[in-house]
Amino acid sequence: MSSRTQREEADAYLKQLEDYANAMKSALGVPVIVDPKTNIAIWFDQRELRLRFIISVEKTRKFFEGLSEGKLLATRCKATGEIFFPPQVDCPSAPNSEVEWVELPREGELVTYTIIYTKPYTFGHYPDYTVGIAKLTNGVQVLAWVRETDPKRLRVGMKVRIEVVKRQPEGYITYEIVPAEG
């Protein structure tokens, strides 16, 4: 039981309901089951929908090219100097201005953090992970995983740096906050 990931447990629960529903279909012809948790009749949905979105990054391609080169990039409004992270390619306060790409500093301090134990379904295959927000030396803030899951070894205000890392098991490049003090 404890060796199963949260995702495997969720899948096993639904599989159990589906098996009940299939048994009821064989017996009564309809996928109506009595929920073992609530003792109430429920229809087991016969339409399963998988969601995977197609998201445009055309205007921010440089950000991902930067990651491939080990860099963390942001945009800066040429008119106002405002730095955008996450990067955006339009400056609402200077609508006719353009943005330029700039590399973010890597050093900063930890503003806040949390350790996620109960996970969303699509993160259910990971061990517990820490999410934090770092304030970089130029004032820009970055939210990312923090490479430390012991709350006793983390504190607000501690020095951190940003590293570009490969996320496993998916095997893609992203960025991470790393404690820079012992």
């Binding site: 806040t112 949390t114 996970k119 803030q141 709350p151």
Partner: protein, 393 residues
Amino acid sequence: MAVVGYGHSRFGVRSDVNMAELAWEAIKEALETSGLEPKDIEHVVVANAGGWSSEPLPAVVVAEYAGLTGKPLHRVEAACASGSAAVASAYEAVASGMADIAIAVGIEKMNESPTPTVVEFIGRAGNYFWEFENFGLTFPGYYALYATAYMARYGATEEDLCQVAVKNHYYASMNPKAQFQRKIDLETCMKSRYIAWPVKLYDSSPITDGAAAVVLASEEVAKKLTDSPVWIHSIGAASGTANLSKRDDYSGLKAAQLAALAAYKRAGLEPENTARYFDAAEVHDCFTIAEVMAYEDLGFVRRGEGYKLVREGQTYKGGLIPVNLSGGLKAKGHPIGATGVSMIAELTKQLLHKVEPGRQADIRKGLVIAHNVGGTGHYAYVTILGLEKPKAR
């Protein structure tokens, strides 16, 4: 404008009813308390966050079932503040003269999906691409970011936060509509497991099915319908950044502060030391830290002093201001789209002395306040209700 009717389903795991049946429980009571029939309603707004439930057009499904087909109808979304957004939208319909009688219905059926799916949907509520896709934040996780920062800055403890849960479970034990009608002690909360450090299971509101409805009417119509209308003094609304990383401060919710300022201004109240104005408050305690921040964001006390109210028991009846006599989101339950409407229904009943003994506020000032936050300070609504008709501005 006045609230002339209110309805509220039992909150909890409501697999015994489908979405329309659940909404009808609230609509039926709202019609009964206002002395109206479906044909009398001129405008319908339905709040539902959805995603986890099967109906993508909940407004039409609910309206058809409730005999409200044909009326102007739309659904609103402001995450966990969708209910307040529905009340605000119904308010606007009446205020503009589009309708004399409007109903705001909040409905959520969260248990149509397994828990990890619900956790996923709420975790996506912020900026999906930049803060969820790679980092898998959860709703408790978002608020945990605030809890960590708040405790580090002001010295509040996990015990302080758990005292909020103890209070809200205490009042929910007297609310027959609540999901958790049992008291808990501090130890139960402190020993519960972490779900997003430093937020524990008992710091957290549950996954809830539920519905609530309120009927709003113009002054002229309200006076004909009832001799005890509850007047809407003001609605203040504001918003916050989608990305949590773009916030300046993690010890309070800017959107709630702005919404409160707007509500106080419209109602002609000073924005400081505001507990003096109200007999009771319903605040958005999706997590215990959220209730502590609400005390400050609403101006009951100065920044950094909210946890002291909890420590001193000042938000029980008899204290500075009783907060969440319904049990709050924490123990009454938090059916996302229904919560804001539930607050207005609850406070209307409080003003009219219609809640259960033991959790009825002493109504002396005749003014109450609702604080409803969507997402993690992504949306905020503050609504002030009163027994006296507001002075014309």
